[in-house]
């Protein structure tokens, strides 16, 4: 028997009945924003924690960002709970931001 997801249970309890597709649009937009920010900070951070040569650091950051973007998006969008997905993408973004700010 298919189990009920927290989001559908919540919407049923609150009396709001929105189709999954409509909820998924907003979820995708939210995840996209978080993952984009994380990828941006990875590229910026690579200049700090990456190789000393700026060209190499930029290239390394972009390689990681392009690979991380789809993986992180699918991971965050694929979790059953939107909150959990947001936390995963947000956590990666925060770590990447800290690497930009704190790395000497």
């Amino acid at each position: 028997m298919p189990s009920e997801t927290p989001s559908t249970a919540r919407s049923r309890r609150s009396g709001v009945s929105s189709s999954p597709a409509r909820r998924w649009i907003w979820r995708a937009v939210f995840v996209f924003a978080l993952v984009w920010i994380a990828a941006h900070f990875i590229t910026l951070g690579a200049l700090k924690w990456g190789p000393a040569v700026r060209h190499d650091a930029t290239v390394l950051g972009q390689m990681i960002a392009v690979a991380a973007f789809p993986l992180l998006f699918l991971l965050a969008f694929g979790t059953r709970s939107p909150l959990r997905g947001g936390i995963i993408a947000g956590a990666v973004g925060v770590v990447a931001l800290l690497a930009v700010l704190l790395h000497s």
């Binding site: 190499d56 390689m63 392009v66 973007f69 789809p70 694929g78």
Partner: protein, 488 residues
């Protein structure tokens, strides 16, 4: 609809795939043509003799007056040295869209009298910018990210049947089933290639998506630049172009001592230096190693070769994506894989529409989507074939001929998109598909007669097979479009 991983991924795959897929179809179709850009340029300049003499380095000096003229016009001309792939000496420059090329006799340096054309590099520019400069580049890079998402979600959906789907093609099954089989077989069999192209292509253009500067700083700079400046910065004095360049043969010999015998590929001319760089055909690493010479007296200025593991990784990714080092066999494999990538997007878009036709077929958005699909899936190949027709039919003496060829391509594409949209909005999309598919078939079928009639000195056993290969591919495309019209 249940909220499960598979349904979520199915939704993502369908919508992101359809939205980006119409553009990615054009990217893959133009990409697989760009693999043969040099060969297509030979088809587009049929006056160039099929056989040429051996290369003599002294012939390079005969090209120098034309180089000087281009430099005076503010261009960055370069000479491409003859190779096994292309026997001519070519003087090239970028006109803002594609590399315009003029062939020279490699023995005497005499200019060959050929028609002006945008050449095969037209499709190269189309592939990564859609002829829209940096904005187009950004949109295509963005579509590359969407492709990676679509591939990931597609793998999750088909994970269980990934191996069994490899050989499951039922062309005579029910229509939706047959299209699904085409989509899955094209995607699964060519998955490694599509994944490699998606990652390397997006990475190559990553500077437009993920620049190594903060977005906030970029916005601040944009406002700062637009504000009126009170400082008057003195402009750098323009570097004058030397009136006479040194003889090029000794420079090439000197460069070969550093880069390796037979490894030089390009000679780039700039007012301040002459760069002789390694040929792209030398290996999978696209190093662009170069030796710089003074344009005044030809002494060596420096030797540039970027070291480091990360740079080498970048060069391998570029080398694998551009495939300029490969032989004819590998080039055909790239072409077929790229074509199958395009088939994957076309079939995916058709499945998307088929699945929603019953429920949403009357809605305006559905009709617009179908009109766009017709414009992309049929319109782009029609534009490409029209480009070849224009090359042979436009007057040879026409002013700005390369631009006119590009305009014909765009005009046919736009006409196809508008016509598809009109048929779709009128509620007769099948009419739109079929008319355009028959037009596409006609353009493809009659390209061979056109080639035979308009090619000077045509013989049945013409030595460069580029003519026969191009005509046969167009013929095959015509057959595919006829079959597609039958099975819609």
């Amino acid at each position: 609809m249940q909220d499960t991983l598979r349904t979520r991924m199915g939704w993502l795959h369908a919508w992101v795939g359809f939205a980006a897929g119409l553009l990615l179809f054009c990217v893959f179709a133009s990409g697989c043509l760009a693999v043969f850009d040099t060969e297509l340029t030979r088809w587009l300049q049929p006056e160039a003799p099929p056989q040429t003499e051996a290369f003599s380095p002294q012939s390079l000096d005969h090209v120098l007056p034309a180089v000087h003229d281009l430099l005076a016009q503010g261009e960055k001309p370069f000479i491409t040295l003859p190779s096994a792939r292309d026997p001519y000496l070519r003087l090239e420059h970028h006109d803002g869209h594609e590399f315009l090329t003029v062939p020279y006799n490699p023995q005497t340096g005499e200019r060959l009298n050929v028609r002006a054309t945008a050449g095969g590099t037209f499709f190269y520019d189309l592939h990564y910018t859609m002829r829209s400069g940096v904005y187009g580049e950004t949109v295509v890079a963005f579509a590359g990210l969407a492709l990676l998402l679509t591939i990931g979600s597609g793998i999750i959906i088909h994970l269980k049947g990934l191996i069994s789907d490899l050989m499951l093609l039922r062309p005579f099954a029910a229509r939706l089933r047959a299209w699904l089989d085409v989509h899955v077989v094209a995607a699964v069999v060519f998955l490694p290639f599509i994944l490699l192209m998606a990652y390397s292509g997006t990475f190559i253009r990553a500077r437009t998506l993920f620049p190594p500067v903060s977005y906030l700083a970029s916005v601040e700079n944009a406002f700062r630049a637009s504000a009126p400046s009170t400082h008057h910065t003195s402009e750098k004095p323009a570097v004058s172009i030397p009136s006479i360049f040194p003889p090029l043969a000794p420079l090439v010999a000197e460069a070969e001592r550093t880069i390796g015998a037979g490894q030089t590929g390009y000679i780039l001319f700039q007012p301040q230096n002459i760069l002789i760089s390694r040929t792209d055909a030398s290996g999978p690493l696209l190093t662009r190693e170069h030796v710089d010479f003074s344009p005044e007296d030809g002494h060596v200025l420096r030797h540039v070769l970027l070291p480091g593991a990360i740079t080498h990784t970048e060069q391998v990714l570029k080398g694998l994506h551009y495939a300029r080092w490969t032989g004819v066999g590998m080039r055909w494999l790239y072409f077929i894989s790229g074509a199958m990538g395009a088939v994957m997007f076309a079939s995916g878009s058709i499945i998307f529409l088929m699945k929603r036709r019953r429920q949403s077929g009357e809605r305006l958005m559905f009709r617009i989507a179908e009109g766009l699909a017709i414009g992309s899936v049929v319109g782009m190949p029609m534009g490409a074939l029209a480009f070849f027709w224009a090359n042979r039919l436009l007057p040879v003496a026409l002013h700005d001929r390369p631009l006119a060829e590009g305009h014909v391509f765009l005009a046919v594409w736009v006409l196809s998109a508008v016509s598809g949209m009109v048929w779709s909005l009128l509620g007769r999309p099948f009419q739109g598909w079929k008319i355009q598919l028959f037009c596409l078939a006609g353009l493809g079928l009659f390209l061979t007669p056109l080639d035979v009639v308009t090619r000077p000195g045509v013989t049945f056993f013409h030595v460069p097979t580029v003519f026969a290969a191009t005509d046969l591919v167009a013929f095959f495309l015509a057959l595919v479009s006829l079959q597609m019209a039958r099975r819609l």
